[in-house]
């Protein structure tokens, strides 16, 4: 729901990700974080919610 709302107001798809990882799923945690970093890097710096300095 939140992901959809964020994309609706102009966040790039993929900028927000949520995963369910149990405490015992160490490997899943590593791959998820790796994937996420990759993806975020490819999206470049966030342009949403940036303010001009007053």
């Amino acid at each position: 729901m939140l992901k959809r709302l964020l994309e609706y107001v102009g966040f790039e798809p993929g900028r927000f990700q949520a995963r369910w990882i149990s405490g015992s799923e160490g490997a899943k945690f590593t791959t998820t974080i790796k994937d996420m970093t990759e993806k975020i890097k490819s999206l470049g710096p966030n342009k949403k919610m940036r303010d001009d300095i007053l």
Binding site: M1, G10, K48, R50
Partner: protein, 320 residues
């Protein structure tokens, strides 16, 4: 419409005289011809203040939580949309059912008072309002006016789901036909179709206008937190600075905070002094709730649990 007003006053009088309630919250004539204002009546003599018509936009269920801990019972006048708030407040244990008498009034749509007011001669006094189905006639001492509903109705009324109250103790007035609006989410869909850049530009423009007066939050009938995160000073989560990022944070938080509880009464949208289309945020959530969870508009039935408040094995699991 006159007979509805008459009955309203009679019923309210009876409730007060028989001491079934100590307070009646209803609509009274406002300070503009096409405007009403909430009235709080505590004696049978006061019921002549009550009125009804196509200018009763406020959702009076909002006030019930003010009297949560007050002694005595309260009667409240609600339209169909407002009555959804009552169900929500009951489900959230914000009010107790036996303390509230719900006076439901079927509603054929509310007009935007500013639009109507702009057309009527200033200073004219109201004689009668007649609902003709597709239009409303407003008769005044300075002449009669006719307003086409499609041009003057409040935005939310154009796709009204519940013209008749979904919960009430007594209903006053004729039941209104329920229409099924296929294009209920047309505006949301149009926005969804836009590119990320377009969406961004659209919402940035809207949010940057925000004054942070918090009218949208304060008018909301399901915003029932004692202290809002946006008011908290220790710690101060969100700064008072009104800039795009803080404003965006505020609006997203507000919309998501009421996700699954928002009854789509459209009050936030109506009261925004900067005309920020807040309902487009809430409706996006309603649409997704329907698409993902087949969930109806919150409050349409008593005991509806928000899909965001419970787990069911059939829930979509995009995050696994």
């Amino acid at each position: 419409m006159m007979d509805v007003i008459q009955q309203l006053r009679e019923q309210a009088k009876k409730l007060l005289e028989e001491k079934k309630v100590d307070l009646v919250i209803g609509f009274g004539q406002g300070t503009e011809l096409a405007r009403t204002t909430p009235v709080f009546i505590d004696s049978p003599e006061g019921v002549s203040k009550l009125t009804w018509g196509p200018f009763c936009a406020n959702n009076l269920a909002k006030y019930l939580t003010d009297y949560k801990n007050a002694p005595g019972n309260i009667a409240v006048v609600v339209k169909g949309c407002d009555s959804r708030s009552i169900n929500r407040l009951l489900d959230d244990n914000q009010i107790s059912r036996d303390k509230v008498v719900i006076i439901g009034v079927p509603c054929s749509g509310q007009l935007e008072w500013q639009k109507v007011s702009a057309e009527i001669k200033p200073g004219a006094s109201l004689k009668e309002v007649v609902d003709n189905g597709d239009s409303v006639s407003v008769k005044t001492d300075a002449g009669d006016y006719k307003f086409d509903k499609k041009d003057y109705l409040l935005h939310r009324c154009l796709v009204c789901e519940n013209p008749n109250p979904v919960v009430s103790d007594l209903t006053i007035g004729k039941e209104q036909p329920v229409k099924n609006y296929e294009d209920r989410f047309a505006e949301v869909q149009a926005l969804e179709q836009m590119s990320t850049e377009e969406k961004n530009a659209y919402w940035d423009k809207q949010f940057s206008r925000c004054l942070r007066c918090y009218a949208c939050r304060n008018v909301c009938s399901v915003c029932t937190c004692q202290t809002c995160v946006f008011d908290q000073m220790l710690p101060m989560w969100v700064s008072k600075r009104t800039n795009l990022s803080e404003n965006t944070a505020f609006h997203l938080t507000r919309a998501f905070h009421v996700a699954g509880r928002c009854v789509d009464c459209g009050e936030c949208d109506r009261v925004c002094p900067m005309d920020i289309p807040l309902r487009k945020l809430n409706q996006k959530i309603h649409k997704d709730l329907g698409d993902l969870f087949e969930s109806p508009t919150p409050g349409t039935k008593p005991g509806l649990v928000s899909p965001l408040g419970e787990f069911s094995p059939g829930d979509p699991e995009e995050f696994m």
